[in-house]
């Protein structure tokens, strides 16, 4: 093969590989941000909703779906650690929660993103920085009926990967 052709082929393959990689990443990103995953309710361990604190602050419905925002935390639940870098024993929260809709024995896990809510930490005032306890969740139009008829739940995951479902009464 002529050298020039080979050079162009290598350049072309590298560019195509990069495009495919970024395309794949963006498609996956969009899926995780917009698609609801459905599970059977019995698949999850149930937690006591009384042990949690939460507030649904806003529900905004638009053409593309509904946005639910609020905050969720389990008061007093922290994990101890030793930070060798500053030689301090400390503790911190672990934030891993997805908002769910429950209807007819099914759990619809919504795309959820967490955000810092220093105001909630201030209100709790128990010496713990709850940091990323704020959430925004997206309900696609296809799930709007489920949202109207179902209950709200919170699916949490602890650092060991154990999932617990808290269902609103």
């Amino acid at each position: 093969m002529e050298k020039r052709t080979r050079e162009l082929m290598v350049i072309g393959l590298i560019v195509i590989a990069a495009c495919l990689l970024i395309f794949g990443l963006l498609v996956r990103y969009r899926q995780e941000n917009t698609e609801v995953t459905v599970f059977a309710e019995e698949e999850f361990d149930k937690g006591d909703i009384e042990q949690t604190a939460f507030n649904i602050e806003a529900v905004n419905t638009g053409e593309n779906g509904t946005l639910i925002s609020g905050w969720f935390l389990i008061p007093g639940l922290t994990y101890e650690y030793y930070n060798y870098g500053n030689d301090r024993h400390d503790s911190g929260v672990y934030a891993n929660m997805r908002l769910c809709l429950l209807n007819e024995g099914k759990v619809y896990v919504l795309p959820t993103k967490l955000e810092d809510r220093p105001d909630v930490t201030d209100v709790m005032d128990d010496g713990i920085d709850y940091r990323d306890c704020g959430f925004q969740s997206f309900v696609p139009p296809a799930c709007s009926e489920t949202m109207e008829n179902g209950k709200i739940g919170f699916l949490t995951r602890d650092p060991d990967g154990n999932e617990t479902l808290y269902i609103e009464e």
């Binding site: 050298k3 395309f23 794949g24 030793y82 870098g85 911190g92 967490l114 940091r131 925004q136």
Partner: protein
């Protein structure tokens, strides 16, 4: 009239004087580094855990795989301060010597000028925030500065082979020492392993020069990197950083973290070093017009890259000067996963895809600045440098570490510019002579540019 031997001695004296002066400069510079933050904790490491082995045992099980550099720091901190300063200054000199060797200026410049140019490049083009965090703090310095020097020393024998020259036994011994050291610094280890693999494959399959010593070195680099990375302290440290720095970090999937890392790499380098990409695209365009006069495709690639990264430089610099977002900034904006919006804006996705494609095109074009000559080094330093920054997406300290993790990326992008300038330089003294064996087993030499059939360009003929 001086004899040749006397002239050589005179030259050696000048070289020695130059490097002694350079060492003194770096000694003075390093002497301003005082203990701070984690340095005090490492200083009392032996006292706290009873012995050095006690400290090492705690460290690998609870705080990470950087046992070799930080173990050396623990030992150095037991000694008077000037010892660290003396070793650190030596590392600066080693970094510059090997960077110049790897950049291969040929004989266009005096090597002392090369060294000074590179030093000036490091201290002017790499942002001050990066330098402050990475090389003016002992705890970071032994990884970012010493580790970067380690990468260069470790890959040097393979670079020699890629350039059709030979390495010495001393080079090989130093490469092994550097390889073991650098493997214990995960960001540098990833770069080193990638570079060793690519260089070994390039030498074996493109240059047709298989070397079992290099195969063993490459394999050792990969195995050591995996070994240090798999030490239990790394996973525990990561979990500690999640609790301490970013409790929501585990909500992100691996593809999300990769996107996040790309955002970190591109945003930071374009914001703080936009000139680098302008320079590289300019070199590609120059080479296309200078050496491929009849080749419309390569010339088009050169023009597209120069216009794209030229506009990028205008947008990024314009934003900094005006203090406001540039109206054309959306072209170069990367999607950040750390937000509370849902879905994907089609325009943003398209811009990001084009953006990444342009980076790929730029990096790939650096392979073939000269017709008929494949130079893998700028390819490695370009993509490797960006990859070290992208890797930070997989760490919960993406914000907490500040600008520090950019050091490797910034340094290797700077090296990419130097390597590419040398590659593009007209009339340079690159050694294109390949030594190989003929069918009778005899050593023969040929020039890989001029002696290849169908090669229209003669590098020595100009």
């Amino acid at each position: 009239m001086m004899t040749r031997a006397e002239k050589m001695t005179g030259k050696s004296k000048h070289t020695l004087a130059f490097y002694t002066l350079l060492y003194i400069c770096f000694f003075l510079m390093s002497s301003v580094i005082v203990n701070k933050n984690d340095d005090f904790v490492f200083m009392k490491g032996i006292e706290q855990f009873g012995s050095f082995t006690g400290w090492a045992s705690f460290f690998v099980n609870n705080w990470g795989g950087r046992i070799i550099p930080q173990g050396i720091l623990v030992l150095l901190l037991q000694l008077p301060g000037f010892v660290f300063t003396a070793v650190d200054a030596a590392m600066w000199v080693i970094l510059l010597i090997y960077a110049c060797r790897i950049c291969d200026f040929g004989k266009r410049f005096d090597h002392r000028i090369e060294t000074v140019l590179l030093a000036i490049g490091i201290f002017t083009l790499i942002p001050a925030a990066v330098l402050t965090g990475a090389v003016f703090w002992k705890c970071a310095n032994i990884m970012y500065l010493w580790g970067t020097a380690g990468i260069l020393v470790a890959i040097y024998p393979l670079v020699c082979q890629a350039r059709n020259s030979s390495y010495t036994r001393k080079d090989l011994i130093l490469a092994w020492i550097a390889c073991i050291y650098t493997a214990s610094f995960e960001q540098g280890a990833a770069f080193m392993s990638g570079a060793l693999i690519l260089l070994f494959l390039f030498n074996s399959f493109v240059k047709k020069h298989f070397d079992k010593h290099m195969m063993i070195l490459t394999a050792a680099g990969i195995i050591l990197t995996a070994f240090f990375y798999k030490l239990p302290g790394n996973a525990l440290r990561s979990q500690i950083e999640v609790y301490g720095q970013m409790p929501k970090y585990d909500m992100y999937s691996a593809p999300d973290k990769l996107l996040w890392g790309l955002w970190y790499a591109v945003e930071n380098t374009e914001q703080f070093m936009p000139l680098v990409f302008l320079a590289l695209s300019g070199i590609v365009a120059y080479c296309a017009f200078r050496y491929r006069k009849e080749d419309k495709i390569f010339r088009l690639i050169g023009i597209v890259l120069f216009v794209y990264f030229g506009l990028c430089w205008i947008v990024r610099t314009g934003s900094v000067i005006s203090g406001n977002a540039h109206p054309l900034g959306f072209i170069y904006t990367m999607i950040t996963v750390d937000n509370v919006t849902f879905g994907l804006n089609l325009r943003e996705a398209l811009c990001e895809t084009i953006h990444i494609a342009m980076y790929a095109l730029l990096g790939a074009s650096l392979l073939y600045l000269r017709p008929g000559k494949t130079n893998i080094l700028p390819f490695i330093t370009f993509f490797g440098g960006l990859a070290t920054m992208t890797a930070i997406g997989f760490s919960p300290t993406i914000y907490a570490s500040g600008a520090r993790p950019q050091f490797l990326g910034d340094f290797f992008l700077l090296c990419t510019v130097f390597v590419s300038v040398c590659d593009a330089a007209e009339g340079s003294d690159f050694n294109y002579t390949v030594v190989t064996k003929n069918v009778n087993g005899e050593d023969v030499q040929y020039n890989e540019v001029t002696d290849h059939p169908g090669q229209e360009y003669n590098v020595h003929g100009r």
